[in-house]
Symmetry: C2
Subunit: 137 residues, 2 copies
């Protein structure tokens, strides 16, 4: 994703374009590691020592509200961010805390069809994902 594409992403989210937002979005979108705020901070800090951790937190939150990144919580209660917006499931490694994507169209179709058929009473579903816990072998 080049500078222009990132700028578009940010502006499309209805946000002002700033240098901080640029490099923070870049860091999140370039990895598949489900980064923590701390990890993002370390990435951007190398080239931009003046960016503060607080700004990283605020900016990531702004992105989540603008719907250009996703946020979720890992098994230790730490916030994780993800530039991939399509629905997908996660593999949580109980031993290393690594989180890997698990994408499978058949599974997604299966689940979508199930919930289309089985509406939940009194509950408006916004997002469904499968959490798979275990360990790498």
């Amino acid at each position: 994703m080049d500078t222009e594409a990132i700028k578009d992403k940010i502006v499309q989210g209805g946000l002002k374009f700033t240098h901080q937002r640029m490099v923070i979005y870049e860091a999140v979108s370039k990895t598949h590691n489900h980064p923590t705020a701390e990890w993002v901070y370390e990435q951007v800090h190398e080239q931009n020592p003046s960016i503060s951790l607080g700004t990283v937190y605020k900016t990531l939150d702004t992105f989540v509200n603008a719907n250009i990144i996703q946020k979720f919580v890992d098994n230790n209660g730490v916030m994780r961010f993800d530039g991939i917006m399509e629905a997908h499931s996660h593999l949580y490694d109980n031993e290393t805390n690594e989180i890997r994507d698990y994408r499978n169209q058949e599974l997604e179709k299966l689940i979508k069809e199930f919930f289309d058929k089985n509406k939940i009473r009194d509950f408006e579903v916004e997002d469904i994902s499968v959490v798979i816990k275990g360990h790498n072998k």
Copy 2:
């Protein structure tokens, strides 16, 4: 669940039986509210003002390690406990943070069959659950 049954549960977990463990297990098992440590503390504190919050945390953790309760993390990164050990999914209300159980045999069967058929390379699955985010209506 009466006193004897709780005692059995604790002893079966390979743990010493103490008064604190008794009342803490009782509080967790009597609710379907996916309690936080704080909630458990408030419950037991009424009748047992000497039990400390630290003991509640340690005891809940001990129970998790002994496999007699489950632990997971809510959308805000707060630990939740659950006396129900069978696999089941959760409905997360984004607005109220309430967590409700969602049990559906057909869904569980669907998912079990899917993963029996589709082994994940290099990953040993220990637990699968479906996370459904949305809001009550």
